[in-house]
């Protein structure tokens, strides 16, 4: 069924263009209205498509072909959009959370001089993200993929006057480029072997006997390598090991950006992409195992780093990396609706947490250092309530949303059967890693909550304390909506196996046509994991309460004093940035410097540029000697030139002639007349018939000759112009029978 899906990304793009062109002249209120209307319209159209059109649309979902984009050789790519359950869910999350964040940003950015530019970028981002999730082929998806990367870069470096912000933007962009390279390789492989880049074509090519199962390298099939390369792209965009390093730095951008791009939407693009390409991934359990293990490792690793960060947004950034790891572990264990479910719940609670961070930093005169916070519970009651709801959600406390989604992933990892026999341990390993990560999550989030909100005294100086105030309604209302979402959104994904009602899991029901049926786990296991993850969350919270309630408590100090080296290592984020600097960045810089001094300075500058000048200079010196300004010398050269020209122009040319041979039996008639240019000048002809008889000379152009014997002969005719003495030899072979 067709539907004007193009409208969905069109509205934000239109808003972005209008704001870029006219935003500076418009008042702030009007800028905000345009931006919010753009994303609001996209939200309304998405909701119409997703809730009213999609249920009647049939298996293919809603489609919209705008036109042919690329058609060359075997490659045919339409600029086409498709909405099925998966992209519908994504669209709703993007537009709805996006709308809330636009509203919040109107308050948060109220004093910023570049108000219009900010909203233009936000709109542009939403448009690109919607293209990403609606694209029906990998190249269209890739446009959105690159578009959100660009917006991410623009918004991280939004306050570009500070070098650190600009550097963070560059770091994000370059790290993403590395991933995108992998993504492109994956696309090339899929095109070469599946013959198409449209998602339905690839899905139908991805069968156990299809072209993607041909062995390629190291005995692994094409699908394995394609999946792996695409996953490299996903690790860049979604901040997984080893390309996660840009995300914490990306917190340099304005907080609404962190909430929208670096928590709720863009960073989930990798998870979305894997769910979109699930047909390819499901072919090769080994690739799925890599996705799941990398996800689970990232979840654990980032959670540990989160233990010791002292910047509000940095904690949330590592928390995001960690939660994205959960999502990858979800899709990597074949639990696609679990991964997407966590994506949705995470979008709500993490956007809420980030906006709370914005609200708190707004109150703290812009500082994000949690060491100087504390006791904000009473001073910022609304923010506190929202943060508490989102905190319980991310820790996984029943009945907040994160509980259901995280449990779905953990139980799914334990119960999954996609790996076959010899990789069966992967699911169990991932399950254990995720449970440890969940424990860590509960700990560091509780630490964050307590250090910011608990206690009676704020540890900041008087000047900041004096300023602390609750944010205006334009900021708190979106917060409240997100808190409600973070609390209740878990209801869309209740495990169907528990209530013996397959449609209880609304999300899985919605996704079922796209990624297959819900991964169901036996009720006993499900209950067991629910209890276990709840228990782990409570343990994590209890430990954190002992450590940090009302400020840094004795156990926290004692722990820090006991393992100072470990504490420093964690605070320094395991010095991964430094490692990358040593291993990759410095060698590249040294190499580049070498290229600069050798290739650029010597080859380009000296040899090519100055060499060209030198050659021109030499010829110019020679030419200058000729240009004496003496008219007589010029005339002499002219006379010589004319003489040479006349000499060649008056050269006698050979008369154009050709041989015509007519055979009748053993008699041949040779006609050596000139071509079409007849002249009265008599020419001399000499005929040699090649059979040993004397040469016939005369002025006649035609001769008749009788051969005595059969055989092959070559007739030579020499045409001579007696006036100039020029000669022309003509040859013709005859076969006489």
């Amino acid at each position: 069924m067709t539907f004007d899906l193009r409208l969905i990304p069109l509205f934000p793009f239109l808003g972005a263009v209008l704001l870029m062109l006219f935003g500076r002249k418009w008042s702030r209120d009007f800028v905000f209205v345009v931006a919010a209307l753009a994303i609001g319209a996209a939200c309304v159209v998405s909701a119409d498509a997703c809730f009213f059109q999609l249920p009647d649309a049939g298996a293919g979902g809603l489609t919209d072909v705008v036109g042919t984009w690329i058609a060359t050789g075997d490659l045919h790519i339409d600029l086409a959009f498709r909405m099925d359950g998966l992209s519908g869910v994504m669209c709703m999350v993007i537009t709805f959370v996006g709308l809330l964040i636009h509203v919040f940003a109107a308050g948060y950015m109220a004093d910023d001089p570049d108000y219009a530019r900010f909203f233009a970028y936000l709109n542009l981002f939403c448009g690109a993200m919607l293209v990403l999730v609606l694209g029906d082929s990998l190249p269209v998806l890739f446009i959105g993929w690159e578009g959100v990367g660009l917006c991410s870069y623009l918004l991280i470096g939004f306050w570009y006057s500070s070098n650190d912000n600009a550097d963070a933007g560059k770091k994000a962009f370059i790290t993403n480029r590395i991933g995108d390279f992998g993504f492109l390789l994956g696309m090339f492989l899929l095109f070469q072997y599946a013959g198409s880049l449209s998602v339905p074509d690839i899905t139908s090519a991805a069968t156990a006997t299809g072209p993607l199962m041909q062995p390629l390298w190291l005995g692994q099939p094409v699908a394995f390598w394609a999946a792996l390369f695409l996953f490299v792209g996903a690790t860049g965009k979604s901040a997984q090991i080893p390309l996660y390093v840009w995300l914490p730095d990306a917190m340099a951008g304005p907080t609404p950006v962190s909430a929208l791009i670096h928590a709720a939407t863009m960073v989930t693009a990798g998870v979305y992409m894997i769910a979109r390409m699930h047909a390819v991934y499901m072919l090769v359990p080994a690739a799925m195992a890599i996705v799941a293990v990398v996800g689970a490792a990232t979840a654990m690793f980032a959670a540990v780093i989160g233990f010791a960060q002292n910047d509000f947004k940095k904690v949330l950034a590592y928390s995001t990396v960690s939660q994205l790891g959960f999502m990858f572990a979800g899709v990597g264990t074949g639990n696609f609706d679990g991964g997407i479910f966590h994506l949705v719940t995470h979008a709500f609670f993490k956007a809420g947490l980030f906006l709370c961070a914005g609200s708190v930093m707004h109150a703290m005169s812009g500082s994000g250092d949690i060491r100087i916070m504390g006791g904000l519970r009473k001073k910022l009651p609304v923010t506190h309530a929202v943060f508490a709801a989102c905190w319980l959600a991310i820790c996984g406390i029943v009945p907040f949303s994160g509980f259901f989604s995280k449990d779905s992933i953990i139980a799914g990892a334990f119960g999954t059967e996609i790996y076959g026999e010899h990789l069966a341990w992967v699911g169990k390993l991932v399950c254990v890693m995720l449970m440890l990560a969940a424990l860590g999550t509960a700990f560091y989030m509780t630490r964050l909550y307590l250090l910011v909100f608990s206690g009676d005294e704020t540890r900041a100086d008087e000047k900041i304390k004096h300023h602390i105030h609750e944010s205006p309604p334009i900021m708190t209302v979106p917060l409240a909506v997100l808190a409600i979402g973070a609390t209740l959104i878990g209801l869309i994904g209740l495990p169907g196996g528990l209530v013996h009602h397959p449609e209880a899991n609304l999300l899985a029901h919605e996704l079922q046509p796209v990624v297959g049926a819900e991964l169901e786990v036996a009720p006993s296991i499900e209950w067991g994991f629910m209890a276990a993850s709840l228990g782990l969350a409570v343990i994590g919270i209890m430990v954190a309460v002992a450590f940090y309630r009302g400020g840094y408590k004795e156990p926290a100090r004692a722990f820090g004093a006991k393992f100072p080296g470990f504490l420093r290592l964690v605070q320094d984020k395991f010095r991964i940035d430094e490692l990358y600097d040593r291993v990759f960045i410095r060698p590249i810089k040294t190499f580049s410097r070498g290229l600069f001094t050798f290739v650029d300075r010597i080859i380009v500058d000296k040899i090519l540029v100055e060499g060209t000048g030198f050659v021109v200079d030499i010829f110019a010196r020679l030419a200058r000697a000729v240009q004496g300004g003496d008219g007589q010398r010029y005339m002499a050269v002219f006379a010589v030139g004319v003489a040479v020209l006349v000499h060649f122009a008056t050269q006698p040319t050979l008369p154009f002639t050709k041989l015509k041979v007519t055979q009748t039996g053993r008699a041949v008639e040779v006609d050596a007349h000139r071509g079409n240019k007849q002249s009265t000048r008599p020419l001399e002809y000499a005929f040699d018939f090649g059979d040993g008889r004397p040469i016939v000379k005369g002025t006649a152009a035609e001769q008749r000759h009788d051969y005595d014997r059969a055989g092959n002969y070559t007739i030579h005719v020499t045409v001579r112009d007696p006036r100039w003495g020029t000669e022309n030899d003509l040859k013709e072979k005859v076969e006489v029978r």
């Binding site: 240009q627 004496g628 300004g629 003496d630 008219g631 007589q632 010029y634 002499a636």
Partner: protein, 99 residues
């Protein structure tokens, strides 16, 4: 007399004129050389005209004589101008085109 005699004379005249133009330094002599070249050309025209029994050659020759007169007038005027500006008509010293 055969046409070739006239043509040889015409060629000799042209060569003498060319030598004058290229080798002499006095601009007045150069002008005279040009005159000789023109007349060499004229002679060739007249010779062919006679051989081919066609009066067009004579018409051309008269045209060229008129042209040569105009050329001499302009040339002499330039010489006068040259002499006024640099008190010499030696062509070695008139290398203004270098600049």
């Amino acid at each position: 007399m055969p046409t070739s005699y006239y043509l040889i004379l015409s060629f000799v005249l042209f060569l003498i004129g060319t030598a004058g133009v290229l080798l002499r330094r006095n601009a007045l002599i150069v002008l005279m050389g040009i005159e000789l070249q023109i007349n060499g050309g004229n002679l060739a025209l007249l010779a062919f005209s006679r051989q081919l029994n066609d009066l067009k050659g004579h018409v051309f020759a008269f045209l060229i004589i008129a042209l040569a007169a105009a050329e001499a007038a302009v040339g002499l005027a330039i010489l006068v101008g040259l002499f006024r500006s640099r008190q010499t008509i030696n062509l070695d010293e008139a290398t203004l085109m270098k600049r």
